[in-house]
Amino acid sequence: MTRYPNLPPTDASALSTKDFKTDQDVRWCPGCGDYSILAQVQRTLPTLGIPKEDFVFISGIGCSSRFPYYMNTYGMHTIHGRAPALASGIQCLRPNLNTWVITGDGDSLSIGTNHLMHALRRNVNLKIILFNNRIYGLTKGQYSPTSEVGKKTKSTPYGSLDHPFNPIAVALGAEASFVARSIDVDARHLQAMIKRAAAHEGTALIEVFQNCNIFNDGAFAFISDRRERPKTSLVLEHGKPMRFGPKKEQGIAVGRDMRPKVVDVAEHGEENLLVHDEGNPTIAYLLSQLAHPDFPTPVGVFRSIDRPVYDRMLQAQVDDARQRKPGRSVQDLIESAHVWDVR
């Protein structure tokens, strides 16, 4: 018996998009934003230089969580809300794997908030893509924890009452080491975010605005519409002043009262704009609070910092302990207690 099947890795450089497609019919509604996200992932993985057999896709339950069936990698469609926990177990046992978590806004922010937050704080080496469609799709249209107040859905015919979660703020609450946002239909940006996440060491969370055209159509129209996007989005770039608008004519500045405001760049001066710093937690949180229609909605990397990675540290503890007490067996451990002989 081998410890693990230590077979030679396959050639990662030969991979292409189609290597990541399965023979299963994709069963999302026609027009669902999930298709684009799947496509961007399938396009990006071959560029990462990782052998196919090392990818693992773990999901919870929801429309989005059917994702692993369509990825020709290792994977598991688990139970509602628990994907980050299950994925943590995989990654902790074998830190050399490349484990991705696919989850929805209900899966990760309703039943699964706890596991998401703990994965983020531990900084297990997981790449988490959160499909935020602000609705429960699979169960046919109840409001979700990211639905706006007053939303009328099957379970809230009188309008919902709960102040929604802001996924970026939630992640920052856990002091996550990598937090980003993208949009289903913005293929280029989404691919870039997937690459950034893949390159990050530790837990990386990407919130993706995803249209559910059946139960919550147009929830992100303000930003997914190509023509609107320059006005309504703020593309974050590390080290750059925050500008937006069709001609980048507007910017974000922060006053002495620590409140952000939209300013005219020409008037205010570019040098007085807020400069994005992926390492600054205060800026990340401030950005999380910016939202349509009062502000442009930020997309890109809110925060990216280096923090020790849980699964690596765990492996190191084991390796280290083994090195300190080499060659020990269970028999040794059994006999290390107080023993006596009966004759």
Partner: protein, 613 residues
């Protein structure tokens, strides 16, 4: 030299009882180890308070440790102690009801202050009001004797008082003619380097207690308990959680797999997590998860990734893990679930023992979701049960539940050290052949291939939706669902083919068969032996496998006129046996957070034997 007469006894039970801070667990452990070294058979029962530190002197804060030592083979910690050492009124009050009539009571009079008496709910001092006249009472000011013995040690008052347990221990050592060496060595090792003054003080107290017994002439007798005829070999003491931990490590070694434990602390299972967390040098990875659900899910992830995956908890945690165990059943991944049972329902009696999770682990999941269940009989048996559980999980590719309980987990016994090289290896290869790979193909044990991430060409997806036979794809096909449901049941049933013939202790047929399981082993075996000794026609079957039941069990049941099932619940195994074999089964039920007493079982069994006439 003492003028006390020396009397030989077969079996003696001693209970040390005092405040949580009085060191009673330590005292009991020392006496146990010394007796084991002398060659006695020993069994112990620690009884902790539910609170971390209840107020000093309160009833809630009483901590007790009972040990039973004998020149015969013994199975339990003894029903009623022969000796009770009570360090304060609360300890007296909580424990005196158990002391044998004419038993020896040693009470630390120093603690019998008005305030402590009141805290313990005494209206008058029982040492003085004559209420204890059925016992042999020895009131001693153990505290003052200790302070005197170690005066000049340089310890402050508080630290000095803390040595009093060693004085009590020394005294009881004298009473039972035990040597001090082992405890002296222990004190030296524990304190000499770090706190030489404490070492000296404890030694002085220990010896003072011993010498007091020898010289004070208040004890007219001392006792010897000759060594038992234990199976020769090398022994160590072990409790159930340690044995379970060692067994899991052994299973990992025997299978060549990495051990992964996903757990969340809960009484009385936490010590297993603590134990394994300290064995990183053996490659064990432990993961203290955010809750029980995450713990079992992480373990399932580790199982998918190719580890020997374990999750440990107690009853409330098992309830939380139910949904995820179902996922392991559907994905057919090897997983070991350890349930160290405690008193229920709900939060119940967390520090007390009970066997009331059997039906939960058998049936407590949505849908038809069977899993094998094995139970340990004694603390040391936890080791072997762990290996057996791993063997089943890997052979058939499914989750297996191990039932232990608070009594086993914390109870200790001398344990003949097993020889790892004599234990058969656990064979389960990873699948590596891409040609013709089907994730839900079957081998002769109905197990499916274990193809772990990282293996080229075996990429496949699992999940909780019904799986298609062979391909493992999602399937809503009605006939396939029926087929797979039956197949999952058949996998569990298949385990029975590997269960060795059931051992019947006693006659192969007769009046009464006692069928029991889990931590009641000792009490049941003692009671049955006792009655067999009186010529009664009674036998004992102790089930390790609760699901599936051994194939020969039905036959065996049929050979006895009556079947009695003692359980620390309201009759859970009894119900399973009744349903399966359609035989009237007499339940003996106890739900008091305590193990059976031998006497209770002898009484019940005797009644049953009457009926069998």
């Amino acid at each position: 030299m003492s003028t006390a007469q020396t009397v030989e006894l077969e079996t003696v039970a001693i209970r040390f009882a005092g405040d949580s801070g009085d060191g009673m667990q330590l005292t009991g452990t020392q006496f146990t180890q010394t007796s084991a070294l002398l060659g006695n058979d020993v069994a112990t029962f620690p009884d902790f308070p539910a609170e971390i530190r209840a107020p000093a002197g309160s009833l809630a804060g009483v901590s007790g440790f009972q040990l039973n030592f004998s020149s015969q083979q013994i199975y339990t910690h003894g029903d009623a102690p022969d000796v009770l050492v009570a360090m304060n009124p609360a300890a007296l009050r909580v424990n005196i009801g158990d002391l044998k009539p004419d038993g020896i009571l040693i009470a630390n009079t120093h603690a019998f202050t008005d305030k402590n008496l009141e805290r313990a709910g005494f209206e008058s001092n029982p040492l003085e009001d004559g209420s204890l006249q059925m016992f042999r009472v020895f009131p001693l000011d153990i505290t003052s004797m200790t302070l005197e013995a170690i005066s000049g040690s340089g310890l402050n008052q508080r630290a000095a008082v803390r040595c009093k347990n060693f004085l009590a221990l020394g005294l009881v050592y004298w009473m039972y003619n035990r040597p001090l060496e082992h405890t002296i060595a222990w004190i030296e090792k524990k304190f000499r380097a770090k706190a030489p003054d404490v070492a000296d003080a404890n030694l002085a107290a220990l010896k003072a207690g011993y010498h007091y017994g020898e010289t004070a002439e208040i004890f007219t007798h001392s006792y010897v308990v000759p060594k038992a005829r234990l199976e020769p070999g090398r022994y160590r003491g072990i409790n159930g959680n340690e044995a379970l931990g060692l067994g899991l490590l052994a299973a990992a070694e025997l299978s060549g797999l990495e051990l992964f434990l996903g757990s969340y602390p809960i009484t009385p299972a936490s010590d297993l997590l603590h134990f394994l967390a300290a064995q990183k040098h053996l490659g064990a990875k432990t993961f203290q998860a955010e809750d029980e659900i995450a713990a079992v899910c992480a373990a399932i992830g580790a199982a998918y990734a190719g580890g020997l995956a374990v999750t440990s908890t107690s009853g409330p945690g098992v309830a939380l893990k139910a949904e995820a165990i179902g996922l392991a059943v559907m994905t057919e991944l090897p997983l070991i679930v350890c349930d160290i049972q405690r008193g229920g329902p709900s939060t119940g009696l967390p520090t007390k023992t009970e066997q009331a999770d059997l039906l939960q682990v058998l049936y407590g999941r949505n849908g038809e979701c069977p899993v094998p269940v094995v139970a340990a009989a004694t603390p040391g048996d936890c080791f072997f049960v762990a290996i057996e559980a791993a063997r089943i999980a890997l052979r058939h590719m499914l989750p297996v539940v191990i039932l232990s309980d608070g009594y086993l987990a914390n109870g200790a016994e001398p344990w003949k050290i097993p020889d790892m090289s004599q234990i058969p290896r656990i064979e389960k290869d990873f699948h590596t052949e891409a040609e013709g790979f089907q994730p839900y193909a079957r081998d002769e044990d109905l197990g499916r291939p274990w193809a772990v991430p990282g293996t080229p060409g075996l990429e496949h997806r699992l999940g909780g939706l019904e799986k298609e036979h062979l391909t493992g794809n999602v399937s809503y096909d009605p006939a396939n669902h029926q087929f797979m449901t039956e197949l999952r049941a058949a996998k569990v049933a298949r385990v029975a083919q590997h269960i060795p013939p059931t051992e019947v202790f006693g006659p192969e047929s007769g009046d009464v068969l006692v069928v029991a399981w889990g931590g009641t082993f000792g009490a049941v075996r003692s009671a049955v032996e006792h009655l067999q000794g009186k010529g009664r026609s009674v036998a004992h079957v102790h089930l390790r496998h609760l699901n599936p039941l051994p194939a020969d069990l039905g036959d065996i049941l049929g050979r006895f006129e009556r079947v009695m099932v003692p359980e620390l619940n309201m009759g859970q195994l009894a119900m399973v046996l009744r349903a399966r074999y359609l035989i009237p089964v007499e339940s003996v039920c106890k739900v008091q957070g305590k193990p059976f007493k031998e006497a209770e079982l002898i009484r019940a069994l005797s009644a049953e034997l009457e009926h069998a006439r």
